[in-house]
């Protein structure tokens, strides 16, 4: 079980309020991702749930029980740190067994569980090595192994993949998602990478300056961002945001259109523009097009390999059904 409820949770360091009173419910078995730019308070929020930071006000409940004043050791949560935080003086086996040893399990049970976790994480051959003798990916797996052996109520991940190289990161992302499917345990995952958020989450919590900007499934956030911040943060490349007369034409202060919802034509369209830089990814091509009457270049996504010359004149047409409208406060107009 792992239902976590935050009730008006507030955190201040001295006079600086990093998290204003905040409510959030994380259902049992959910994969929740906290995402936001650095300094948005996502890691602090995770540490509050973990118990590594004291809550200034409000209440944290785990499975209905007040856990606000419960020390981290007694909350029944497991955490995977960005730096892995392995015990350098212990072998991989001892690292993974440490939480079991602390829980006072007998040796045979410890060995059984460590062997099972090592099997799942492909660490069986490395059990007698020290963390210093492992690669980054292997260390991360040891950290995950240490978390899963004790069968916690929930897993907390604090930017676990940011120290890995890009290729490894994609692999570990899949492994963690796979783990969630199999264990069906609540997972709370902190990242600044919106791709990780979109690909892994059941529910994304977008944070800015300690405030929750929006909570929803990845596609909810993609389809209907509640405000300009979420609109700009979710999706890659970023949504094009257009103000001025063009927006006024749609009865809005700002309109947003995603790069994948603009079509390009050499002959005719809504907006006339000049092609700037092109980015060829093979599967997609991104064009940066400067249009008349629109500030800043627009990003356009075209599937496959398409070549347009630098300086060439093109016509862009947004898909009218995919235009997001925002009012003068930056909030979505339904």
């Amino acid at each position: 079980m792992g239902r976590i409820t935050l009730d008006k949770v507030r955190k201040a360091f001295g006079d600086v309020e990093v998290i204003p009173p905040l409510d959030l419910t994380i259902e049992d078995g959910e994969f929740v991702v906290f995402v936001g730019p650095s300094g948005c308070g996502k890691s602090t929020l995770l540490r509050l749930i973990a118990g590594l930071e004291d809550v200034s006000d409000g209440q944290i409940r785990i499975d209905g029980k007040d856990a606000t004043a419960v020390p981290p050791a007694k909350r029944g949560l497991a955490m995977v740190f960005q730096s892995y935080a392995l015990y350098p003086h212990m072998s991989v086996r001892k690292n993974i067994a440490f939480p079991l040893r602390m829980a006072g399990l007998d040796k045979a049970e410890q060995d059984r569980r460590v062997a099972a976790a090592a099997e799942v994480l492909n660490l069986t051959d490395y059990l007698d090595r020290r963390p210093g003798q492992l690669s980054g990916g292997q260390r991360q797996r040891v950290a995950i192994g240490r978390a899963i052996v004790r069968e916690p109520a929930a897993f907390l991940f604090d930017e676990p993949l940011s120290n890995l190289d890009a290729a490894l990161r994609v692999g570990m992302r899949l492994e963690i998602s796979e783990l969630h499917k199999r264990l069906k345990t609540t997972m709370i995952y902190v990242t600044h990478d919106q791709v990780e958020a979109m690909t892994m989450a059941d529910k994304i919590v977008v944070l800015r300056a300690g405030h929750i900007e929006q909570v929803g499934s990845p596609l909810d956030l993609y389809r209907a961002p509640r405000n300009l911040f979420v609109a700009g943060f979710i999706g890659s490349p970023k949504m094009n945001l257009i103000g001025g007369a063009v927006a006024a034409g749609h009865d809005a202060t700002t309109i947003g259109i995603r790069p994948e919802h603009i079509s390009v034509s050499a002959e005719a369209g809504d907006w006339k523009g000049i092609v700037g830089l092109s980015e060829h990814l093979g599967s997609d091509t991104f064009f940066h097009v400067t249009c008349e009457g629109i500030d800043g270049p627009l990003t356009v996504r075209v599937g496959g390999e398409v070549a347009l010359d630098y300086g060439q004149t093109v016509w862009l047409s947004p898909d009218p059904a995919q235009i997001h409208r925002f009012d003068q406060n930056g909030l979505r107009i339904a």
Partner: protein, 276 residues
């Protein structure tokens, strides 16, 4: 050209280092040398570097006249006891300063260190009174306590600098893994800080071993360590210089050998964790 300059500089610094080393070592060397001379030759003018009659008589006399082993044993107990007791007190203190610092932590550390700037004789009277009151005069327990307190600021400082090198996340991981505070300090912090703790133990053992002010003032016979053993051979007229030298050599030999075998740890200790 550049290479030649470097080599010349290397030679110069090596020679200089040896010169300084020999200069510092000279008094010890002279003491050891004198301990093998006769009393007459020991005070000969000009001083004799060679050509004296090599004798072990001084050692024989010293050994006969006083019970070296008893002093040695007292030194071991007092230096060892005060160091171990100090570590036990300092580990939790350094833990809290390194990992849960408050706004006052730096001030407290400086204040602790500032007590080392006070001349010891300034508190001789109050401490003597306390010793009399609690019947601690000339007891090993009393000396262990005093030397522990005297060296505690250094022990806390050293451990604090070592602990600061340990990432806090690892201790947080232990907490998340269900470790109590005791388990966290015992199974995670201490094993990771073993090199630092070893240097601290060593340096403070040496400091306590050499401590003379309190050991001389607060002991008489039964708890007297090697410092008192040396002092018992010094006389205002400078007589029995050879015997004093023999006693001194016997007193410093154990710590000299210990220091020789643990040079690496010691250097680390003296640099207060600045060198990794």
């Amino acid at each position: 050209m550049a290479r030649a300059v470097t080599t010349r500089r290397k030679i110069a610094t090596t020679v200089l280092a040896w010169a300084i080393g020999l200069l510092i070592f000279f008094p010890i060397f002279w003491t050891i040398l004198t301990s093998f001379k006769t009393e007459a030759q020991a005070i000969n003018n000009p001083p004799l570097f060679w050509g004296f009659d090599f004798t072990l008589e001084n050692y024989a006399v010293v050994q006969e006249r006083s019970d070296y082993m008893r002093f040695l044993w007292n030194s071991v107990i007092i230096a060892g006891g005060s160091t171990i007791l100090g570590i036990l007190v300092a580990v939790p203190a350094a833990w809290s300063m390194a990992f849960v610092p408050s706004r006052r932590t730096k001030d407290i550390l400086l204040w602790m260190l500032s007590t080392k700037m006070l001349p010891a004789v300034g508190v001789l009277y109050p401490i003597s009174l306390i010793f009399v009151e609690f019947n601690l005069l000339d007891t090993r327990g009393g000396l262990i306590l005093v030397l522990m307190l005297i060296n505690l600021p250094i022990i806390v400082w050293m451990l604090y600098t070592y602990f600061r090198e340990i990432p806090a996340e690892i201790l947080e991981a232990a907490r998340m893994d269900g470790a109590t505070l005791k388990a966290e300090i015992l199974y995670v912090l201490t094993p990771m800080a073993i090199p630092g703790i070893a240097s601290t133990l060593l340096l403070n053992f040496i400091l306590a071993w050499n401590e003379a002010f309190w050991t001389l003032n607060l002991t008489a016979a039964s708890a007297a360590p090697l410092t008192a053993f040396i002092a018992s051979y010094s006389s205002p007229e400078g007589l029995f210089f050879a015997k004093l030298s023999a006693a001194s050599t016997m007193a410093i030999a154990p710590i000299l050998i210990l220091g020789w075998f643990s040079q690496k740890q010691l250097v680390r200790g003296l640099t207060f964790g600045a060198v990794k």
